[in-house]
């Protein structure tokens, strides 16, 4: 039987290629994402071991505040430590280092680097030193208060050459420098797409941080001590009051690699999740192809049975075939995946996120897991069709045509409905108070039920969806409609991947629409001003606090107020603290204070959101111990509770940090103009004030609100992008099924051509069949997706999401897209159908 299996595989290369295609796609996404994240990981590992190659010791503060998203804010250390360290025996040189927010303004007045979620924009120190992170590739090291050096990529993007004047914005304001040198980091033009403005230590400290303060000290030894001994010696030499620690070069390298690694691992998990979804969708395609090929081989299998092959042998033959297909498909998929990740890297390079060359990392793990997963998925998908093939009665050899028996089984009906009802019941329990963690099970049950019922639903729904085609496309439409309904099992299996993809897309879209709607409502109600200046640099850098002060001096402005964010430690946990300026915020932004006014917020006070107050079970008068980035813990008395926690859970007075080393930026400035102020003049005045800083966008109230809800679009875009993998597989699934159907209907096509069907009519028939199948998946997917979205929105009601919004527009777009997908998938099969040789088709028996 093994030989029969092999002969069977080789005898039908087309079928082999089609079956493998589904496996190839699924595994290539898996391998591609895996290779890509490994490569990214190693790239950064190498980069940082390169960067700290000549750093023997690394001195920094032990005082650190970790925020709730893994970011940390470490206290700074004073300059005098550098001299202290230099005196330690075994130290050959030590330099202070700063890494802080700085934005380079391009020649066109626009800041360089990407906004928001993109790579950060840094200011740092560059000076001649054995362990220096930077090397100067052109020009000279920055030496004086007017000198700046830029990383190569930024210089190129900003079209700056040595000698140019460069404007840089930092926490202390904006300033113009002379470009004296171009620097490179390790062997890349700029690390990970970040931009760097580099200064001598004094300037860096004064301009980027606070005068006399640095982030860390880089030390290089004279070789008389081992790194560990050197670090110990330095540590011993620094008095305890400075609260510092000394790491070896190896330790800081490992730590940085770890940090990057965990940041990347989130990305890796995201990629992996969606490639597994894609692989799951691929299972349907593989299963479908095996089922169809089993049906097409019914006579052949029946003949084998008639001449004495056992059921088991028939089944085994098909399983052997599936192993071959799985193995070949996975291997090709692996190779394709490596190519895919090379493409992704090239794409990143094209958008200027420079990854050091080092080749792709194809780990043994990737190779083994890709092939094993591919093989398992293929064989599992083939088991049912193989068993069904074994059940073929020998008499089927005498039957004229191979047709799948598609009686809508009572068992199927019961299983499907039971699964859906159970799923809905589980969701119902969650709605009425059970834990959200059961939601997944409920949703899964509904999905499974729908897919089980698929073959039963497929025929009536396909006939319904095909009505317009039959109505308006004449006999070709009639035939397309009948063809899409003639084999409901096959149609529903083809539509299932579309269903899953569309359901996920719809659910995500519905969720996004609900979030956007909520943002609209909230900001419209809370923001009482007319203009806002916004920046995307949330959490890292932002607008200078002096901007709001400048704006308040304008004659057209009634009030301008800035919101800042600080990372602080409250009760030992990292938190965001929102800072407001009480004298200007009143009347511009309403946070919904309960029995309190902004005037109650003195520098020794804190406001809590109602939710937080309830959770902590404290109220007005309580004292909250808050540790700031300067390492000082300040007792703040709760003087007010507010309802609208969209701006954060803790609010403090911005003057609290005046005169302290704590660095604070405003993330937004909100402006209320004077009644009767001329609109054009106001805009001109505001624009001029903003332009002075080279940072931040002036937006009208509506623009600002749109921008807030627009942020959801970025996330939406990413998820859509990842779901594309599944969509591609569904399209390929439709193509494969159509092709197999076309092969199967050769005689019918030959007959139709003989009695006068033109090639373009043949194409129309295949095209509409494809569209109907695709729409079948889309319609069911949209129904499920809307339900899923509604359930998710409900589950998120604790997170403040209150109203579900039906994404009407996007739903229509999805339908139109599915229509186009149908048309697109039909192109090749339709062309193949027109190539059917009439005589050969008529003569085949």
């Amino acid at each position: 039987m093994f030989r029969i299996a092999i002969k069977g595989i080789l005898g039908r290369k087309a079928r082999l290629i089609l079956t493998s295609l589904a496996v190839i796609l699924g595994t290539s996404f898996l391998a591609g994402t895996s290779v890509f994240s490994d490569t990214l990981n190693r790239t950064f590992d190498n980069l940082f071991s390169d960067v700290f190659k000549n750093v023997d010791s690394y001195v920094r503060s032990t005082q650190v505040i970790e925020g709730n998203f893994g970011q940390e804010e470490r206290q700074r250390i004073p300059l005098e430590l550098v001299d202290l360290v230099k005196k330690v025996p075994g130290v050959s040189d030590a330099v202070p280092d700063v890494q802080a927010f700085a934005r380079i303004i391009g020649k066109d007045g626009k800041p360089l680097g990407s906004d928001g979620q993109g790579p950060p924009t840094f200011g740092s120190v560059a000076m001649k030193f054995k362990g220096a992170l930077w090397t100067i590739s052109q020009g000279e090291w920055p030496m004086g208060p007017k000198d700046v050096a830029l990383d190569e990529a930024s210089a190129k993007n900003g079209k700056y050459v040595v000698g140019d004047t460069v404007k840089v914005v930092a926490q202390s304001g904006s300033r113009e420098f002379t470009l004296v040198g171009i620097a490179s980091y390790g062997d890349v033009r700029s690390p990970g797409g970040a931009t760097f403005a580099l200064f001598d230590p004094t300037t860096a400290s004064e301009f980027l941080a606070k005068p006399g303060l640095f982030d860390d000290i880089l030390v290089s030894g004279d070789g008389s001590k081992s790194d560990v001994e050197l670090a110990k010696a330095i540590n011993a030499a620094i008095p305890a009051k400075y609260k510092t620690e000394t790491l070896t070069g190896a330790q800081i390298t490992a730590e940085t690699q770890d940090q990057i690694g965990s940041a990347l691992s989130f990305f890796g998990i995201l990629l992996k999740t969606f490639s597994f979804i894609a692989l799951g969708v691929g299972c349907f395609v593989i299963y479908n192809v095996f089922s169809i090929s089993a049906a097409q081989r019914q006579r052949e299998n029946a003949l084998l049975r008639a001449i004495g092959a056992s059921r088991k042998q028939i089944t085994r033959t098909m399983l052997i075939e599936s192993i071959a297909v799985g193995l070949i498909g996975s291997i090709i998929g692996l190779v394709a995946g490596i190519g895919l990740s090379a493409g992704l890297s090239a794409l990143l390079r094209a958008v200027n996120i420079d990854i050091p060359n080092g080749g792709l990392v194809v780990s043994q793990n990737t190779v083994v897991s890709t092939i094993i997963i591919g093989l398992i998925v293929t064989v599992l998908s083939a088991i049912l069709p193989a068993r069904r093939a074994g059940k073929v009665p020998p008499l089927a050899a005498m039957r004229a045509t191979a047709l799948e028996i598609a009686a809508p089984g009572r068992k199927r009906l019961i299983t499907g409905f039971a699964s859906i009802i159970l799923g809905i019941a589980v969701v119902g329990f969650v709605m009425s108070g059970a834990s959200n963690s059961y939601l997944g099970i409920g949703i899964l049950l509904v999905f499974i039920g729908t897919i089980v019922l698929g073959p039963i639903i497929a025929r009536p729904v396909a006939l319904f969806l095909g009505r317009p085609a039959a109505r308006f496309r004449g006999i070709t439409g009639v035939m397309a409609r009948q063809n899409s309904a003639r084999n409901p099992k096959r149609t529903s299996r083809t539509a299932s991947p579309v269903l899953i993809g569309v359901a996920l897309v719809t659910a995500v879209t519905a969720l996004a629409a609900s979030i956007k709607g909520q943002i609209d409502d909230v900001f419209t109600a809370q923001f009482k001003g007319d203009y806002a200046i916004s920046t995307d640099a949330r959490g890292f850098g932002g607008l200078s606090p002096t901007l709001a002060i400048d704006l308040n001096k304008l004659p057209q402005v009634e009030k301008a107020t800035g919101f800042g964010f600080l990372t602080v430690k409250i009760d030992g946990k990292g938190q965001y603290l929102t800072t407001v300026t009480p004298e200007t915020v009143d009347g511009v932004w309403d946070i919904g204070l309960i029995n309190a006014t902004y005037a109650d917020l003195k520098t020794s006070n804190i406001f809590l959101s109602e939710k937080t107050a309830k959770r902590k079970n404290i109220s007005v008068g309580a004292v909250v111990q808050t540790t700031f980035a300067d390492g000082v813990t300040r007792p703040l008395t709760v003087s007010g509770i507010y309802v609208n926690n969209e701006i954060g859970d803790y609010v403090a007075n911005s003057h609290l940090v005046d005169g302290t080393p704590v660095v604070m930026f405003d993330v937004g400035v909100y402006i209320k103009t004077k009644a009767g102020a001329d609109k054009a003049e106001t805009v001109a005045a505001l624009t001029a004030a903003v332009k002075k800083y080279g940072q931040g966008d002036l937006l009208t109230k509506q623009e600002y609100i749109n921008k807030q809800s627009g942020q959801v679009n970025q996330l939406l875009g990413l998820i859509y992008g990842l779901l594309m993998l599944s969509v591609i597989i569904s399209i390929v699934g439709i193509i494969i099924t159509l092709l197999l159907s076309v092969f199967e209907r050769q005689r019918e096509l030959g007959l139709l051509r003989a009695v006068g069907m033109t090639r373009s009519q043949v194409r129309t028939t295949v095209r509409w069949e494809s569209v109907i199948t695709s729409l079948l998946g889309a319609v069911l997917g949209i129904i499920l997706g809307i339900g899923l979205g509604w359930v998710i929105v409900f589950a998120l009601k604790d997170q403040g999401l209150t109203s579900f919004k039906l994404p009407v527009g996007p739903t229509i777009v999805i339908m139109v897209m599915s229509f186009i997908v149908g048309l697109f998938a039909a192109i090749y099969p339709a062309w193949r159908a027109t190539r059917v040789n009439i005589l050969d088709a008529l003569n085949t028996n």
Partner: protein, 246 residues
């Protein structure tokens, strides 16, 4: 009957069909010239490999001649593009094949009207009803092919061939898959179509009994026309076939 005075519905002029080239060349048809007259039931007979099916396929626009011409209704098929040929088959030719004549997803009624519908043509309703009546299919119209017997399926095929009132109908072993009683029934219908409805039929067969329903028989062997017989009977056909060494 004096065929020479009748109108020619279709003809082959020096029709030659070669497969392969050089020494490997296989001749399916060698210089065959034959006319088919309107209102006549012509049978083409010959042993397997004699070229009878090839001749029919080439005249019917399903296959191309290597040289010579096939003419239907005055038009040389070799000058026509695929689309024109398709339209010609749809409008001027009717087909009845040995098996797999019907589209399984369409009802008997839709199958009968298929060529008309493909051409967006309503057809002559009175004529279609008459055809359906002639083949006794009135109460089977809503059935799909899988619900019809073999004989009924062939009757639908005959009705389809007749429905568009083509210039000529080609039938390729129409009774080859039927038992003799059902076969006789189909042949009677075809005979009636010629006698009562004035149709032109060309039928390829190797069955002397079937051929005896025709007005005229053309005998082919090795790609040549070797004989011709008018007003045949089964016995005469058998005798002739014996004399041709079959």
């Amino acid at each position: 009957m004096t065929p020479q005075t009748s109108t020619i519905a279709a003809s082959a002029i020096s029709a030659t069909k070669v497969y392969g080239s050089g020494e490997d060349a296989v001749y399916a048809l060698r210089d065959v010239s034959v006319d088919f007259y309107e209102g006549q039931f012509t049978a083409i007979m010959g042993p397997s490999g004699s070229g009878k099916s090839t001749l029919m396929h080439c005249i019917a626009g399903l296959d191309e001649l290597s040289s010579g011409s096939a003419i239907i209704d005055g038009t040389d098929l070799s000058t026509m593009k695929d689309k024109e040929l398709t339209e010609l088959r749809r409008e001027k030719i009717g087909f009845v094949f040995q098996s797999f004549n019907l589209v399984p997803t369409l009802t008997a009624n839709e199958n009968i009207r298929l060529p008309l519908m493909l051409g967006n043509n309503k057809g002559d309703e009175a004529w279609i009803q008459k055809v359906i009546g002639t083949v006794h299919l009135q109460d089977r119209l809503t059935h799909r092919p899988s619900e019809l017997s073999g004989g009924q399926q062939q009757r639908v095929a005959v009705a389809r061939a007749l429905a568009s009132q083509p210039r000529i109908i080609f039938a390729d072993e129409p009774t080859g898959n039927l038992d003799s009683i059902t076969g006789a029934e189909i042949l009677t219908f075809m005979r009636k179509a010629v006698d009562d409805l004035g149709q032109t039929i060309v039928m390829v067969t190797h069955d002397p009994v079937a051929a005896a329903y025709a007005d005229r028989i053309i005998f082919l062997a090795d790609g040549h026309v070797v004989n011709e017989m008018t007003e045949p009977t089964a016995a005469r056909v058998l005798d002739l076939m014996k004399s041709l060494g079959n």
